[in-house]
Point group: C2
DNA sequence: TAGATTGTTAATCGATTAACAATC
DNA sequence: TAGATTGTTAATCGATTAACAATC
């Protein structure tokens, strides 16, 4: 997977991982009607050092104003733009078990820029009332659908055994990114973006930290 | 959150995050009947340098044998023990929407050491056929249940607004760890283990990396 | 024994923190 | 102007990689 924008100096993964978090907190401040915040106050809230916050942001430009701090709304929007959240994305969900349903649900409710265009499963599923606009289709049609509809992202919530095949099919059909919820690490071309949500790794790390409690 | 075992030198979070991944690959090798592997070969498979693999493992002891490499099964078990996966844990799931159901499903199917003792929701739910042994209860009983049953972990899949309250209730009742699937960062005592699965952060990082493709 | 590969120390690299001059 | 806080450079810290002696 390529990482960072092409022109400017490479931004580390650690920085990118923090951006959504900054944005999340700024969103909440904005909701509360707070208009300005200093790196020091944000630090206290978010738990990173003020220095790190300034350092992180200055990878992308000077968003603050000396003596005042940062405009909450402006910074929120700017981080959104950096992350590409000012654009629209077309999504398919592959695997419509409980996890697939949960993700469809989540995306529809919380991620307005990510549009669920199609939902796929091995079984023909009763049309889901919540997703009238999304076609629920068997996997046989996956490839054609992705190509015809110009899908950007495939959310993979199929059983582990089928993950690699489904991912390859999606990528061959033109998908640019995979949001992978299966246990397996997918083997895909360099230029495909893969974001893994490895539930087992997360739970096992939790188990580790429980030991010295 | 405390981090690392009490006696020995502090192990960094980065190392702990890699352990489940090592274990996962070793598990697959074992399934394939492979008995020995060198750090070099594992490196090729897993994508970390051989040096890092040896360095990581030697934080916990010498598991290999010079000239030969590592015994797959032995190392798999040892990492399991380091992570605390040789123990049993009692879990409650709080919030039985689609995501809660997905997690219940996942745990039951894949995580034998984590036992679902109770499932809670605001609504009284029809007993789930898949989870006959787990009591499905309204949240009013949460606190008593956790105390009486000696629950270790609460999986939180309620709507964001209720997350903090539910977490506090669970912690007050004696839970040692929280597996948090909501968007919010929970404010809890230092000694509670919190593992976050921030879906939005994950999706937003994915969006970032799509930009230079 | 010779070859292989670990365990471990040393060198390098990168990320975080501290400090401060620039400036609103 | 004085005070505050950024943007940015320098110093520190930690993590990764390289190297190699120990040893199976």
């Amino acid at each position: 997977m390529n990482t960072g924008n092409s022109k400017e100096k490479q931004i580390s993964k650690a920085v990118i991982k923090r951006l959504p978090r900054y944005r999340r907190y700024l969103g909440e401040l904005h909701k509360k009607g707070i208009e300005k915040i200093s790196s020091k106050d944000l630090s206290q809230l978010i738990g990173y050092t003020a220095s790190q916050i300034r350092q992180d942001l200055n990878n992308f430009g000077g968003f603050g104003q000396q003596g005042y701090g940062y405009s909450v709304k402006y910074l929120y929007d700017e981080i959104g733009a950096i992350l590409g959240l000012d654009k629209q994305y077309k999504i398919v969900i592959v695997g419509y078990g409980r996890l697939g349903q949960a993700m469809a649900n989540y995306i529809k409710k919380n991620e307005g820029n990510f549009h669920i265009s199609g939902i796929f499963d091995v079984k023909q599923i009763i049309r889901d009332v919540e997703f009238e606009n999304a076609q629920v289709l068997t996997c046989a049609n996956l490839s054609t659908f992705i190509r015809d509809e110009n899908i950007d992202i495939a959310v993979i919530t199929v059983p582990a055994e089928k993950a690699q095949l489904v991912a390859e099919t999606a990528v061959d059909a033109g998908v640019k990114a995979i949001w992978n919820f299966t246990t397996v690490d997918l083997e895909l071309p360099e230029d495909v973006v893969v974001e893994n949500v490895h539930l087992s790794d997360s739970l096992h790390a939790l188990a580790y930290y429980m030991q010295d409690m």
